[in-house]
Subunit: 253 residues, 3 copies
């Protein structure tokens, strides 16, 4: 994670080659970095972007879920939950500068921010069902809050990946920005949010989102059990094995 | 009900002349047919359409509600609830091929499916208030989930019937399809849903819709009491009598 | 308040110069007037508009919140809550004829009606955060129900004032009407609602909105405590002092 501050704005550049996939260690690093900025009183906003070309984040690392050690799998999921709690409930203003593809967890990170700008000709979406897994209820709540129940339900069922244009049309992202201007525009959008007193913006954000974060807090252990039980099923492991095999072939092919 | 299977897709053609109105017997038949397909392990999807020209379904049979026997009225409503529970909570993929007008209960059947295609130049809507009756909370939840709170509230209050074009514009239906292509397109749409592993699609659908179905389960008896008390009011019966009289005149006129 | 009746329609013209700001006395008068029309069995609808040029209502009177007497502040907030309960839960059909700017409380009054028509070239929005205060949860629920979660959250955070055109585009208002036709169109829209039997429209409206009104009833005292505690904070009072000072300078400047 490349983290630096420009006056009151923290910039987090995801930098885990090749595709910014989120494994336990990287999630832990992500959470520590966001919590540090959150607790830095001089920090009013955070921009999340990618340091790698063409990919914002490939999402959760599937290798964490394949033939897992159960203890590590629980820790992994706890960090995924924590990342969402940290981002969706963040007191600082957040902008996702989506400068590459953003499937699954990469999409979730984007949707958890306050504003989303995206470079053209990429794709974004919660495509979990395409991999034979299921986005949990708080992923579902987050996309429903962004694009409404009907479009969210449909996108979740199909595991649909939206093009940048489609994402803009349905409100999944807020603005399309050429890649060379994406950081400049992220700063401009941040300024719009800074025009409002921080505490008023924070209380308002909290009032809108708190019920959803509370729901995960209330069901957190059950959600982890549910994830672990699901992922460790023989049928899911077999499907994942085939998927990983097909990835290997694609790479070597 | 004309029910047949084409490989893994069940097709249900509503065929109760003259207008596919849903009385106790037809609702019971509808529920048995859908439950049979649901329990058929080779069945992955169901298309619901009409075998009659120009009408998808006129909705609930008003004769069930006029001068009713209370026991039968309770059974009738129980079957209406069950139809919605079966369709909105269906594990198989469902497509409504709306090849005619779809007022009231006909609209509800459509909205309970996963995808809606509709032939041009028809109308669809929950027009209950136009008849002096009221769509129950689960009808209201279903349309709110489809087109959002504001448009749903307005449509419900006015008992608004949308043209095919208006329905498409506000998201009440998903696609406009010429009548001679409607079954072919229904099959194409089904294939898109089949591209996702069934269990992942089912868990996702369940996660989105379960809370609404649970709400009806929790209030089912009260909802039936409420319906029976409302319908058997003198004022409602008188208004319904006048409405039926006006229908007779229209037919003989 | 200029209140008169044209057959079954009550018309309320806000007439508190210079900007129809809502102080304790005017809120009380507003509530008495709306309750009187609500209890008048010959009254089926209410149109709310402004008798002043260019302003619908400036919203809550900021002078009620600056250096307040706590008892009066509690009474003030109780009347604000009551106004929303009366309007959002009104049994009569309501149309807001927005013939001027409608910030903050002026926007809330509009959003609490059943239908909104607005003259061009004005602005409307819940701009509380711009003043360093926070719209309570029931303001938030009301705008979320009107334009959806995402747009509402964004507008609330930024305290965004929509132009008439922007308000129409996102569904915050329903129709743009030239100022000289606004009362005529309000009557036309009322007639559309009167085409449905009143009781069916009322039960339907109640079914949609009751849960939100119930939520305020359940938390009413806590909401008042919350408001009073927030407003009487030193930091809020200081910010408000500066804001009032800047207003004075603008007027004298």
């Amino acid at each position: 994670m490349l983290t630096f501050k420009e006056s009151c704005i923290g910039v987090m550049k995801l930098s885990k080659p090749p595709v910014n996939s989120l494994n336990l260690e990287y999630l832990t690093e992500f959470n520590i970095a966001i919590e540090k900025l959150e607790n830095d009183k001089s920090c009013r906003g955070v921009i999340i972007t990618s340091a790698l070309p063409k990919i914002f984040s490939a999402g959760l690392d599937i290798l964490e879920m394949y033939q897992p050690n159960t203890d590590r799998l629980r820790q992994f999921w706890t960090q995924v939950q924590q990342l969402w709690i940290n981002l969706y409930g963040s007191q600082v203003a957040t902008v996702a500068a989506i400068n590459g593809h953003a499937p699954a967890g990469g999409c979730l990170v984007s949707l958890s921010c306050d504003y989303r700008i995206m470079a053209p000709n990429y794709t974004i979406g919660l495509n979990e069902t395409q991999l034979g897994i299921v986005a949990p209820f708080w992923f579902s709540d987050t996309i429903t809050n962004t694009i409404g129940f009907r479009k969210a339900e449909r996108a979740l069922q199909l595991g649909y990946m939206f093009t940048t244009d489609e994402a803009k049309a349905c409100g999944l992202i807020d603005k399309i920005v050429p890649p060379d201007q994406i950081m400049a525009v992220a700063h401009e959008e941040m300024k719009k949010m800074f025009a409002v007193p921080d505490f008023a913006r924070q209380i308002t954000k909290n009032q809108c989102r708190k019920q959803f974060i509370d729901k995960l807090h209330a069901k957190r252990d059950a959600d982890t059990d549910n994830f672990v039980n699901f992922i460790t099923k023989d049928s899911i492991q077999k499907a994942m094995g085939k998927y990983l095999e097909s990835l290997k072939k694609r790479k070597s092919g």
